[in-house]
């Protein structure tokens, strides 16, 4: 029962995006480290970002705002953020609050590559 963990996968030339997995709870406490790590990654030039939410058990408004901030920054650079397989609990929060109209959410890993529509391309 780890409270929070983030795995940043190394760049992989077989796809155009960078992948991270976030595990546990993204609340107003753990979000601080999450934002720092991901904005560092964007500083490195990443414009297409995939965040695997399949093991995220909780997200608070602070976590949602962090995802909003990443979305804004990536889209400004012609990139995008894609969220992979959120748990039913997290997906329901997105749905109820209306964030399913804002975030790009993908249920099938095979559709990730196609879902990045911006022009930015990097590994």
């Amino acid at each position: 029962m780890k409270n929070y963990d983030l795995t940043i996968h190394p760049a992989d030339s077989s796809h155009s995006f960078r992948r991270v997995d976030v595990i546990g709870c993204l609340d107003s406490h753990t979000v601080v480290g999450f934002e720092k790590s991901l904005h560092n990654l964007l500083d490195e030039g990443v414009t297409r970002l995939l965040i695997d939410l399949s093991e995220l058990s909780y997200i608070s408004s602070a976590g949602i705002s962090a995802l909003m901030g990443l979305t804004h920054r990536l889209r400004k650079n012609n990139g995008d953020l894609v969220l992979l397989k959120p748990t039913e609990k997290v997906h329901r929060v997105f749905r109820t609050l209306g964030f399913t109209n804002i975030f790009k959410i993908v249920e099938d890993e095979n559709e990730v590559e196609a879902s990045f529509t911006g022009t930015g391309s990097e590994s």
Partner: protein
């Protein structure tokens, strides 16, 4: 579950948010709320408690927003240290009865600014996005997920947030 009253007092420590969520989830589940309602209650209470941790004692320098964890903790008063009778803490009261579950989140902090008092955070997702998607979502979540929400100023100047979820009524639903 029949009637149950609980009161939790805690020091201001970011880790307490996870502990309070575990407790709130357990009480709500045992009180008979379904999974979706429990998740909404968990989130609303977490937002309220996070606001205490982040905002209420900012003027004293206790905030997970602008202090590194170590600096922040060093200065933290202890609840059970008789030498430290300062009033920097978070109180969460939980009442369960036949009709509803009710939470009261109390701090002795700086209080709400008078303009936020009447109108907390953002009013809608549209307003949230217009304002750049940075703040105010917590209050929106609280209002959307609970049936009754009330902000008061405590006699000592702190904030009292009372929120209720009724057993039958449904609030914002995902379907």
């Amino acid at each position: 579950m029949h009637n149950l009253d609980l009161e939790i007092r805690s020091t201001i420590e970011p880790h307490v948010l996870g502990v309070l969520r575990a407790m709130v989830t357990s009480v709500s589940t045992q009180a008979g709320f379904d999974e979706e309602a429990v998740a909404q209650i968990e989130m609303a209470v977490d937002e309220a408690c996070a606001n205490v941790v982040r905002h209420a004692y900012k003027h004293l320098g206790y905030s997970s927003d602008f202090a590194g964890e170590e600096q922040c903790d060093a200065a933290l008063p202890r609840l059970f240290n008789p030498q430290d009778e300062s009033d920097v803490h978070l109180t969460l009261q939980i009442c369960v009865d036949e009709e509803a579950i009710c939470f009261r989140i109390i701090d002795s902090g700086a209080g709400l600014e008078s303009h936020t008092h009447s109108r907390m955070g953002v009013e809608s997702l549209e307003e949230y996005i217009e304002k750049g998607g940075t703040g105010g979502l917590g209050s929106l979540i609280i209002r959307n997920f609970m049936d009754k929400v009330e902000y008061d100023t405590a006699p000592n100047g702190g904030t009292i947030l009372t929120m209720t979820k009724y057993r039958q009524r449904t609030t914002a639903s995902s379907t």
